[in-house]
């Protein structure tokens, strides 16, 4: 006969077990706090150390600087030149350009596929679409970067006749491939969480299925879809390997989408290995890391808040 009797209770192990479990539960919380503390700690000299500030104060990283006497003031990121230049503006511009292209590419596709999967697809079809999107999400970003670098860049250059092989457009499209699954998953989840009873009520009132989708489900799920887009944008800003490999990594100030760009994340990845521990350059790279962390943190917090609220509203319960 199998062992059906529990061993005698031990208060001691019960206590230890409970403590181990509750301490482990704090790991995610502690983890995120440690990330912030340790990244910010390395970036702190930007605010406190006058030697660092001489080259890279907040002012100097934000506004145009006259690096050489008599020459025009400009934005420039050249940390290794004889006159180190730490303007973050070119990097900011590059990051935003790549992310905007990624969103223009990924948002319509992600939302469109989500609408199809939740509103039009048969059960069978839906069970095919979802794993396919999961596979897309599973492609390591270094593979997407490789694909953009070797295949997509050549294709775009030949088709559009571009001067620069690696550019914001190329990086943005590859970035979009990484963002599509996020938008799809969040948007689809928002639409399927619209209660069945609401749909049935609308159908009972004489609406046909697509009217239900367009006039009832979509408006109800709109905040969720928006949250998906915003979360996708957060990913596009923080993604590293794709832009590092596919963007050309030139920190230039230009409005063109077919010139090379250098993003915040790629700058850290490309330069951190060569900097001297504790130098101004090192500090600035951690400062960029802090910016990325704070920005994505705010986006995620906002996104989660919106998602929690619409679930509450639609289903009358908290997740």
């Amino acid at each position: 006969m199998p062992e059906l009797v529990f061993k005698p209770k031990s208060k001691f192990w019960e206590f230890v077990g409970a403590k181990i479990i509750s301490i482990s539960a704090l790991s995610a919380l502690i983890g995120i706090l440690l990330i912030f503390v340790f990244i910010f700690k390395e970036a702190l000299p930007v605010f406190t150390n006058s030697e660092v500030q001489e080259e890279a104060s907040l002012d100097k990283m934000t506004f145009k600087q006259e690096y050489y006497e008599g020459r025009e003031a400009k934005y420039s990121w050249q940390p290794n030149s004889t006159v180190p230049k730490y303007s973050l503006y070119p990097l900011f511009l590059g990051t935003i350009k790549a992310a905007i292209i990624a969103m223009l590419f990924a948002a319509p596709l992600g939302i469109g596929a989500a609408i199809y999967s939740s509103e039009f697809a048969s059960r069978r079809m839906r069970e095919t679409i979802k794993p396919v999107i999961e596979l897309l999400a599973a492609i390591p970003s270094v593979v997407l970067g490789f694909f953009a670098l070797i295949v997509l860049a050549t294709f775009l250059q030949n088709v559009l006749g571009l001067t620069f092989r690696l550019n914001a457009l190329n990086a943005g499209i590859a970035l979009g491939l990484a963002v599509i699954p996020i938008i799809f998953t969040v948007a689809e989840d928002a639409m399927t969480s619209v209660p069945r009873s609401l749909r049935e009520a609308a159908i009972a009132l004489g609406a046909n299925p697509w009217q239900v989708s367009m006039t009832m489900v979509l408006p109800a799920a709109l905040p969720g879809i928006a949250a998906g887009v915003v979360l996708g944008f957060g990913r596009a800003i923080g993604e590293t390997m794709i832009v590092l490999m596919a963007s050309g990594n030139a920190a230039i100030v230009s409005a063109s989408f077919v010139e090379s760009v250098r993003t915040f994340s790629a700058t850290i990845a490309a330069e951190l290995a060569e900097v001297v521990f504790g130098s101004t350059h090192y500090t600035v790279l951690f400062f960029i890391g802090t910016l990325l962390f704070v920005f994505t943190f705010a986006i995620n917090l906002g996104g989660e808040l919106v998602l929690g609220r619409i679930k509450e509203k639609l289903q009358g319960r908290t997740q």
Binding site: F6, S24, I39, A113, Y116, F146, E239, L272
Partner: protein
């Protein structure tokens, strides 16, 4: 009179058919557009996979996966990178799975879903999942290598050079463990929700304590979910490059890692290095494609297994 009636009924019919017609055609457009989005996504996934398979299949052989790179990575195989990747994810799983599972159990069994601490932990998990991978790399460098590793050196090895305070496989694995923690937690939680409440209550009714119930009932019942989470974490961890660039991965090593503080080669990093730093990209290309194929096959296999386990778990719950 008659004429009047017929006009009315005629007008009504016209209105009705008109509406119906409009609805049908208008329903087709969103349906078609959204289906086009799905098809485009599937197509792009197909193009990437096709390209990688065609480019890489020719070089895949037993020799390729069992030999080290030769001739500046233009010949030979990728064995050290495969070995390093496997060693890395094993260490990562050892670190992340127990903590992730215990966190999920805590959230599910020890607190009410609306309590402050639960909400805080959930916010932390959601945000941890959104932190850019390059920020994890910075964190690994600042926390694990400089703080923990440097601290250990200062305490025990003050006379020698850095022993622990340098890039090493253990630091890379711990960095990835933090990155994949949300994957394990979310997946385990999903499994916990599928356990019939009666089973747990029966255990308590028979006099089982909380710890006994967790060890004898909850963990065994949640095993498929824990397995899914671990596999997904491995798939994610095996593909991430940005977090390990500064925390332990090496361009090339003539030996395999044998100690926790050794550096290592890794598939994703190997791809990055070959794709961007090779002096002769044409000569490296076959090996590059082969490496991408190995990584992609590894990732997809892991994901297929995870998707399969999860879907059979969901079917069991539905039944």
């Amino acid at each position: 009179m008659k004429a009047h009636e017929s006009t009315i009924s005629y007008g009504h019919d016209l209105l009705a058919t008109n509406l119906e017609f409009k609805e049908k055609t208008r329903g087709l457009i969103p349906r078609g557009l959204t289906l086009a989005a799905v098809i485009l996504i599937v197509l792009m996934l197909g193009v990437i996979m096709f390209n990688v398979i065609i480019g890489g299949i020719g070089i895949i052989s037993w020799e390729f996966v069992s030999h080290p790179p030769e001739q500046g990575m233009e010949e030979g195989g990728v064995f050290p990178a495969i070995f390093g990747t496997v060693a890395l994810v094993i260490l990562m799983v050892i670190a992340v799975v127990p903590i992730g599972v215990l966190t999920a159990i805590y959230l599910h069994e020890y607190t009410s879903p609306t309590s402050k601490i639960t909400r805080l932990i959930r916010v932390a998990i959601a945000n941890l999942a959104g932190v850019p991978s390059i920020v994890f790399g910075l964190f690994g460098l600042g926390f694990f290598i400089a703080f923990i590793g440097g601290g250990l050196d200062w305490l025990f090895y003050s006379s020698e050079g850095p022993v622990w305070g340098q890039p090493a496989i253990i630091w890379a694995a711990l960095t990835l463990a933090l990155l994949t923690l949300p994957v394990v937690i979310v997946s385990t939680e999903e499994a916990l929700r599928t356990i019939p409440r009666e089973l747990i209550e029966a255990s308590y009714a028979l006099g089982g304590t909380k710890l006994q119930t967790i060890i004898r009932i909850i963990i065994p019942q949640a095993l498929p979910g824990i397995l899914t989470g671990s596999i997904l974490a491995v798939s994610r961890g095996a593909g991430e490059v940005a977090p390990i660039m500064f925390t332990g991965a090496a361009y090339y090593l003539p030996y395999l890692p044998s100690k926790l503080n050794d550096q290592f080669m890794e598939l994703g990093y190997h791809i990055y290095v070959m794709a961007t730093q090779s002096p002769n990209i044409e000569a490296t290309k076959p090996i590059l494609y082969g490496t991408v194929l190995v990584l992609l096959v590894l990732t997809f296999l892991l994901n297929f297994v995870a998707i399969y386990i999860r879907s059979s778990m969901r079917k069991k719950r539905a039944a």
